[in-house]
Assembly symmetry: C2
């Protein structure tokens, strides 16, 4: 067990609500923006996977003797605010959000899970494995940019906004939940700069995969 | 095999799109109307199940050599129209829709599946089994009505509207897809009146379960 059981409940709580709300928002984006039924089904598939993850996390929270609703409650506002600030206005924005936004969030959770008890960490890692599910987003965005190079600039700005809003909400969370922040710092050890380096590098990798890095 | 392979593709197509769109709409209702996180999770659970059913149906359509998108296409408009006409304005309306609206639709699909090939019928029946998943809707609506008897009249009218709009869209579907209509008539044999009797009786049972029948 970690020395920080409060931090563990927080980690599982924020992750559970993140999955539940990602499920609902991806479903909304699928209904609103998908140009074809096949695309709608593909984004729905991502959404359904998020829901399955939510269920695993909720059950784990309950098995720790914590009320899942209480564990999630502190994170409802910042996560809802993040989604409200980053509602996609079209299909490509929805795909970039599904891939980049989710990716950043998952990296943070993985860092925070590095020093919790084995069982929690295994569950978090299971939930965080992408298994290539979001590859279709990479394929679709890449194809759109090859067809119309001007999309790249617009979508790169959009991705920057997703990150900026995430950092802004992340600061609210850290200020309100010091136990969760402690997990992150504990994970980073002495060198929190190195952790941010890892997060930045992973984000850069996703942007490159989408074709959203400055061209030569 | 049925003599009516076109009808089978139609049946699987309408059912697949019904499940996909039910998934998306239930998720939307959960995000918009659920009063607590527990309620949100409960309706999300129903939504995720619909998605799993969609996946089974889509795979079956593909295994018949039919493009799932083409099989679903004729039913997008009537099903989208039904949902647009019956967007719940609050949590209780969302629950009644999840239980009554879905129930009627499932009864129709079950009737239509009575005379298709064994494999298709088994799949349809698997997808249509409720397994008590919607019992939470019955519990919540019942509790709300016991607390405030005036809710019953309003929700009974709402349920009537759900049925009316379903019949109206059903007529469009039958007019546009004679092969699907043929499955229903074939299922009913000589006596289509008896089939409507069964559907009406099942609907009455659901209304009674919700406490939405005229009091003594």
């Amino acid at each position: 067990m970690s020395d920080s059981p409060l931090g563990v409940a927080d980690l599982l709580g924020v992750l559970a609500y993140a999955e539940l709300t990602a499920f609902l928002r991806l479903a909304e984006d699928a209904a609103r923006h998908a140009p074809t039924l096949t695309d709608r089904a593909a984004l729905s598939d991502l959404a359904a996977t998020e829901y399955a993850h939510f269920r695993l996390l909720r059950d784990r929270i309950a098995s720790l003797g914590v009320d899942p609703e209480e564990a999630m409650a502190p994170f409802v506002r910042p996560l809802d605010d993040w989604h409200a600030q980053t509602a996609p206005s079209d299909w490509l924005e929805a795909l970039v959000k599904a891939y980049v936004g989710t990716g950043i969030a998952l990296d943070f959770y993985r860092e925070a899970a590095a020093h919790v008890d084995d069982k929690t960490r295994e569950l978090v890692e299971e939930v965080l494995v992408d298994e290539g599910r979001s590859q279709f987003a990479v394929d679709r965005v890449g194809a759109a940019i090859r067809q119309d190079r001007r999309q790249a600039g617009r979508l790169a700005l959009w991705a920057r906004r997703l990150v900026g809003e995430a950092l802004s909400q992340g600061q609210h969370v850290v200020a309100a939940r010091p136990e969760l922040a402690a997990l992150l710092v504990e994970a980073a050890g002495e060198d929190i700069t190195r952790m941010f380096g890892r997060l930045t590098e992973a984000h850069g990798g996703r942007m490159a995969a989408l074709g959203l890095t400055p061209g030569p």
